[in-house]
Amino acid sequence: MDDVTTGEPLIVLDAVNKWFGPLHVLDDVSLSVGRGEVVVVIGPSGSGKSTLCRTINRLEPINSGTITFDGQPLPAEGKPLAKLRSEVGMVFQSFNLFAHKTILENVTLGPIKVRKEKPAAARERGLALLDRVGIANQADKFPAQLSGGQQQRAAIARALAMQPKAMLFDEPTSALDPEMVGEVLDVMTSLASDGMTMVVVTHEMGFARHAANRVIFMADGQLVEDAPPAEFFANPRSERARDFLSKILTH
């Protein structure tokens, strides 16, 4: 990386609050994510972890507090916000591939329209990315013709095509059949080991254990624990984390 600010965190949330009507989904959340760091967010459903993930590229606006990305506060609207989003890759639970476009067109739309790359160059890079996630042979198919695991890998390639500074994963394997979870996690693990900054909301404890630098545990909109995975899983400090882990790890 040629970034002079290395050492400063890439993503900083400071005292972030968000309400959905009367529901306090994010309660005074502060968090910083360093460059190249992989942060896994876990917690019971309804704890606000997806919302947290979606505030980082402002898919969810916040009610108070500040979020900065790469030293800049998140822009509120318009072109500056679009530019910020182009630098933050997002992978959704339900893939959200563009249904009327082929896999390759999905991957090249952003580079061509947002980055104004030449279509030929974008296609070449798109194919290389599809090859990297192992679905180069599906390039000309439509999303509905692919399995869930293949669709999610295509969605990761689509996000990577923008050469983002960070990647957000919002429960990327929760909508997949069990036998397809592994192929998606493999791609994510290889991304992590290549030094990508990642925020991953997931229920995959195996991934949290071996790929994360830190595990964040959330409950009721609050950030309850923030620890390296070995420490968190061996020795959770809070009652709520112990309770959560006992429920998911005994099966």
């Binding site: 898919l59 609207e77 890759g89 591939l97 996000a159």
Partner: protein, 235 residues
């Protein structure tokens, strides 16, 4: 029933004039309706409010009242709607260019009124596109306009086409009001002319003009049915 044969040229002339109103009004309503729809789904609150107010006013006001405003309000404001005398277009649709402004007034009323319904048909199509599609587009950094053009609208078209067709059919029927607001010689004015001034029996004349409207609306309805069936198969 001799009137249908004897006065065929009058019916045909009325049909042609009504068709002209409908073609122009459909184009105008589709363009204006699309603009209002974009306003209503825009991320900028004042623009959204503007679009919503437009729909609220013109969807909820009787067309007759809109026609009154156009035919009597515009002259009161000193306008003969001369901006509709568009060169080239007025040589194809000659009534656009005549000194009697009532064709233009009727056109304006029909466009303003129908655009509100076009907007809602387009918007129902946009709403049929899963929210995740637009979210994914935004996450890539596409602007609002790019998002609409490349992701949302290409997918909303399918869900819009049938309601849009119904709106246009309703507009063709609504165009019958034009004859009562000074437009001489369209299908509905033809009925008035033949029964009132020329003394023909009402029922044959009414059958004649009905056939005229049905020639325009029935094929359009059949086309919509076909599109709908094809969509059902594709799904």
């Amino acid at each position: 029933m001799n009137v249908l044969i004897d006065k065929f040229d009058v019916f045909a002339g009325g049909f042609w004039l009504t068709l002209q109103i409908c073609i122009l009004a459909a184009i105008g309503a589709l363009v204006l309706g699309a603009i209002v729809a974009v306003l209503r789904i825009s991320p900028v609150p004042p623009l959204r409010a503007l679009g919503t107010s437009y729909v609220n006013v013109f969807r909820n006001m009787p067309l007759t009242v809109v026609m009154f405003f156009a035919a009597f309000g515009l002259p009161a404001l000193g306008s003969n709607a001369d901006f509709l005398r568009i060169p080239l277009l007025d040589s194809l649709f000659t009534r656009l260019g005549t000194d009697l402004p009532y064709f233009r007034f009727a056109l304006i009323a029909l466009v303003l009124y129908t655009a509100a319904f076009v907007c809602e048909a387009l918007r129902s199509g946009v709403n049929a596109v899963p929210a995740g599609q637009a979210e994914a587009a935004r996450s890539l950094g596409l602007t609002f306009g790019q998002n609409l053009r490349h992701v949302v609208l290409p997918q909303s078209w399918q869900a819009s086409i049938v309601p849009l067709g119904s709106v246009i059919i309703a507009m063709i029927k609504n165009s019958a009001l034009a004859g009562f607001f000074g437009v001489v010689g369209d299908l509905s004015a033809t009925a008035d002319q033949l029964t009132g001034a020329e003394g023909y029996a009402f029922i044959p004349v009414a059958i004649g003009i009905s056939i005229g409207y049905l020639i325009m609306t029935v094929p359009l309805g059949a086309l919509l049915d076909r599109i709908e069936k094809r969509q059902a198969v594709a799904r």
